[in-house]
């Protein structure tokens, strides 16, 4: 197993290097003067020349790349001129919001998609199967930003006077101020004295509310998360349901399932223990591959629901043409994408010995 993990890790290195190369190349291929691109059209030589020297933009390209890689290893992704702060600080603050959204959306997709897929396969060609598959086809064709807008409209306007009303925007109710866990635990008094890791954890609102045993924050955070999570989770849900269905259908037709039935095992045991547990292997891969879609969905959904996550940050970066910010977000997301797929690969090898031995 360790040899398998090592082989996977080694294979990921050239891809990670390639990602650095692509983001570097994109950053350097901005048309026109790089200083003006960073500081705006009115930047004068008096400001530009020292900046270009400081950033090493007058050096040969290979040296510039070495500086770029060196900076990234030290956690320096440049400065965002839109926010006037280091990109790394912004990511530490905002990544948790996106992570929380992506994880919740994925959980929603898995918890709903897998059972739907199993039932559809078990009741193949029934009304339920047809409805689920038509729903999955529609779900996978829906623009996530449109679904977000529609959900916001339905749950905050049409269902306004019912118990189902949900907030259409914001991560928490406006003006709500909940104590971060590090302050409650006496680890650090203010954000300035707290470490990056503490800030990161405290921004995971649901986790923070559990750590501080704050029921009010928990409820508020969950209520604000439901609609965006459904919007982001619908496409993965549809893909997972379709994949589970076809995979379960295939295993249900295998000889060993017939043998299990012939042995007189209960139907539940045959389906859940024998068929489904084997059918879920390809679903694990699909879940990993869906991470890219989740991030893209989060970028679009956060702008609709006013979440200050990296999606919203990226959107602000685009509108302000803040290259360092866009480059930083792209880099971090791509690296996360590679690492998650690596994790899925390793997990896959762990649960299926055929993979790690091949």
């Amino acid at each position: 197993m360790s040899a398998f993990i090592l082989r996977r890790l080694v294979l990921a290195i050239p891809v990670l290097f390639g990602i650095l190369l692509v983001t570097f190349a994109l950053g350097r291929s901005i048309p026109g003067d790089p200083c003006k691109a960073m500081l705006g059209e009115k930047a004068t030589d008096a400001v530009c020349i020292p900046l270009i020297q400081r950033l090493g933009l007058n050096e040969p390209i290979p040296t510039q790349f070495a500086i770029y890689v060196g900076n990234i290893i030290h956690g320096d992704l440049g400065n965002s001129f839109r926010y006037g702060r280091p990109v790394t600080d912004l990511l530490v603050e905002r990544l948790p919001v996106t992570m929380e959204l992506a994880i919740t959306a994925l959980l929603f997709a898995i918890v709903t998609g897998i059972p739907l897929g199993i039932i559809s396969a078990y009741r193949y060609n029934s009304k339920l199967d047809v409805v689920t598959m038509v729903g999955a086809n529609v779900g996978v064709s829906m623009p996530v930003f449109w679904l977000g807008l529609m959900l916001a409209f339905i749950f905050s306007v049409i269902l306004k006077d019912t118990p189902f009303v949900l907030p259409p925007s914001g991560r928490l109710t406006a003006g709500a101020n909940f104590a971060p866990f590090y302050a409650s635990w006496g680890l650090a008094a203010t954000e300035q004295t707290a470490s990056s890791l503490m800030i990161f954890i405290s921004r995971l609102n649901i986790l923070n509310s559990v750590l501080t045993l704050n029921g009010q924050q928990f409820l508020d955070a969950v209520r604000h998360l439901i609609l965006p999570a459904i919007a982001v989770g619908t496409i993965p849900l549809s893909i997972i349901a379709r994949m589970t269905r076809s995979s379960v259908l295939e295993t249900l037709g295998q000889d060993y399932v017939r043998t299990a039935r012939a042995k007189g095992l209960s139907e539940y045991r045959v389906v859940v223990r024998h068929a489904v547990s084997n059918a879920l292997l390809p679903v694990v891969t699909i879940i990993g591959l869906n991470f890219g879609g989740l991030v893209a969905g989060a970028v679009l959904t956060e702008t609709i629901f006013g979440f200050a996550g990296i999606g919203k940050t990226l959107f602000d970066g685009i509108t302000a043409r803040d290259y360092a910010l866009v480059q930083g977000v792209t880099l971090v997301t791509a690296v996360a994408f590679v690492l998650i797929n690596l994790l899925v690969d390793i997990l896959y090898g762990y649960v299926d010995p055929r993979i790690r031995l091949s």
Binding site: P14, V15, G18, I19, L21, V22, T23, L26, G27, S29, I30, P31, N137, V138, V140, S141, M142, P143, V144, F145, W146, L147, L149, M150, A152, F153, S156, V157, P168, F291, G292, G293, V295, A296, V299, L300, T303, I304, L314, F315, G317, I318, T319, R321, Y323, V326, Q327, V329, T330, T333, A334, F337, V338
Partner: protein
């Protein structure tokens, strides 16, 4: 000296065989397609959209960019309520789906939007297929270092979430429909390159290719006349599904302000303009979204249907 080497004759005959087989397969595929519910519904939706796109100037009651303010018979008021839908008993005015925030006819804009979406979807996928297939063909056929370099580059491109890479490319090169189209094409190249490479690897060792090589045919001819036609099946399926994906990505880029620019009637751009008014004028958001969904659904259904119809394994069962 007029006698012909019998082995060459048999090779020539062997070349004829795959063609007649492929003719039969084409007929069989069409028959399978007609039986496939998902393919038929997909083809109907796409056919309908194509008709709308082609006849938009005839079908649209108004110029999509014409503001109705101050025109005879118009109230000139911007929409603050639900649209006046003619079939639901509303007599006047004549705007079936109401007016947008610039007092333009939403229905006309929707019809013209079909042109942009189909254009972007088909052009970007064609571009990606041309570049991707060439790279895949070369990588698979030549092998060795060329293969390694091309495929590692494709791996790197695949390592980025596709929409995110497209966003970055457009941000760097400037917003606009053309750049969005190129960005969408670039991020989809690796999919086609991988697909074609895999097909080439399985086809290139088959006997009819070896025979062609033995006859002294140049590599370009072997690649494009012998190998490429045999890789078409997965390419057609992936291409059809890819158009749906490209339409979604184009709409997303326009929604973020990176694709089509105002006043162009593009569905994503229409959603982007109306997003802040979803609570007061939801129809402005509802219809463009349905149009995007229908287009993507059409291509997805057709792609799924094609896959089922073209997959020989399913025919046997």
């Amino acid at each position: 000296m007029t006698s012909v080497n019998p082995s060459i004759v048999s090779i020539k005959e062997a070349q004829v065989l795959p063609k007649s087989v492929s003719d039969n397969r084409l007929l069989e595929t069409l028959k399978n397609l007609r039986r496939n519910r998902s393919a038929v519904s997909g083809a109907l939706i796409i056919g309908f959209l194509f008709l709308i796109a082609i006849f938009a100037p005839i079908l649209a009651p108004y110029d999509p960019n014409l503001s109705m303010i101050g025109r005879p018979g118009e109230s000139g008021k911007l929409p603050a309520s639900a649209p006046c839908i003619t079939v639901l008993g509303c007599e006047k005015p004549q705007h079936i789906l109401g007016l947008d925030l610039n007092a333009r006819d939403v229905f006309s804009r929707l019809l013209y939007g079909a042109r942009i979406s189909l254009l972007v979807g088909i052009t970007s996928v064609t571009f990606a297929i041309v570049v991707g297939s060439t790279l895949g063909l070369v990588a698979g056929y030549v092998g060795g270092w060329t293969d390694n370099i091309i495929m590692r580059l494709m791996d790197v491109l695949l390592a980025f979430p596709s929409l995110l890479l497209a966003i970055t490319i457009v941000t760097v090169y400037g917003p606009g429909l053309q750049n969005a189209l190129i960005a969408i094409a670039i991020v989809s190249i690796p999919v086609y390159a991988r697909l074609i490479r895999a097909s080439v690897l399985s086809v290139k060792e088959l006997e009819f290719v070896t025979a062609e090589r033995a006859l002294g045919a140049p590599p370009a001819r072997i690649l494009f006349q012998q190998i490429f036609p045999n890789t078409l099946t997965p390419l057609i399926v992936q291409g059809t599904l890819g158009i749906g994906g490209a339409v979604l990505e184009a709409a997303a880029l326009s929604f973020l302000g990176l694709g089509a620019q105002p006043p162009l009637a593009e569905w994503g751009q229409m959603l982007s303009e109306a997003r802040n008014y979803v609570f007061t004028a939801p129809h402005l958001v509802f219809f463009p979204g349905i149009a995007i969904m229908l287009t993507v659904l059409g291509f997805n259904l057709l792609g799924d249907g094609l896959r089922d119809a073209l997959d020989p394994r399913l025919n046997r069962s």
